[in-house]
Amino acid sequence: MRKTPTWPRHAIMLVVCVLMLIPFYWVLKTSLTGENIYAYPPRIIPVDPHLFNYVDVWYMIPFPRYLLNSVIVTLMAVAGNLLFNTTAGYALTKNFPGRRWVVLLLLSCMLIPFQATIIPAYLITSWLGVLNTHLGMALPMLSTIICIFIFKASFEAVPRSLIDAARIDGLSEWRIVLRIMLPLSKPAVATNVILNAIWSWNAFMWPLITTRSAEMQTLPLGLARFLSVMENTTGALYAFVVLVLVPGLAIFLMAQKEFIRGLTAGATKG
């Protein structure tokens, strides 16, 4: 490897990155442009750019309120996932009758599309009496299968000797998880945090069905609600898109180091 020059690889990657970034730029540019966005030919540099589209968006919907709801739901989902996926992942590292069946069951659960389960899911949620609440929105997302397996992989990487030693010291299973497993699986934790944050932040159809009051809407719903008024005729829509995406991206960028290490570590001794 050393001998081969690296510039061709840089060149390719630069092209790839540009391609990946163009959509971001195009939306950003549209959200800033002052001219009629349907003008042809479109300009690469926004004409007399301004930020007023963002002002409009801010007043078009109760943005802070929606943001808060999104944050709460996301936090719940992340917390739930950390708790349930750790325990489940740990359980799967042990040998117990029917383990293979559980794994199969979990895998096949991944293949059930949500759109087809809306009605029963709604009935169940209402039966639990958490409709139109943050908990109700977070509930179906409190545990995700892929993440269970990420934990499983990372736990399996922990040397048996450590666990046995702990058991000899008479640590309870709980303490083993808390004191030994988790500290050694920080990357897996980061991965869980990020993936679930992403997924629940972006959830659309479920919050749409479970929320009645305007106060409970989340940002994605705001986007739909916004579309219905403005359609795609103004930079404001794209300003909104930017505003909805920025928080998620920010979180990801801040945590991506751990995230990527997380998946890696998860695999190295998976």
Binding site: H50, F52, V55, D56, Y59, K186, V189, A190, V193, V229, A250, M254, A255, K257, E258
Partner: protein
Amino acid sequence: MSLSGSNGWLILRHRFVAVPLALAIVTGAWNAYVAINDGGIIAGTVQDPAGRPIAGADVLFFERSMLNYVEERRTRTDAAGAWRFDGMAVHVGQVEAIAPNGQKSERRQLRLWFKAQNTEVTPLIVREYR
């Protein structure tokens, strides 16, 4: 750098602390600025092409409804050609002046940074006025 952050005052430099902190500061500053400047006063003058003030001109304020702009407020300029609207809880609108002789100025698009921002509109010029 781990999610849990580092210890001591260094924690302020951890991005998971620094970024929200910075955001909080900016937000606070902005809200303070808004609180000081949201008197809801929109004012300006009406002039003829030569820059002489036009007294007694009607000034119309159009607010944005769903599809178009509709007239919401109307006032008259004083001897100095000055006009002023109070308690304007809007962040976008249009102003237009109609001189006593019925001639109109251009319709000026107003976009404010926040609702009820105090705004000094550059003079509205009525072209055909003599």
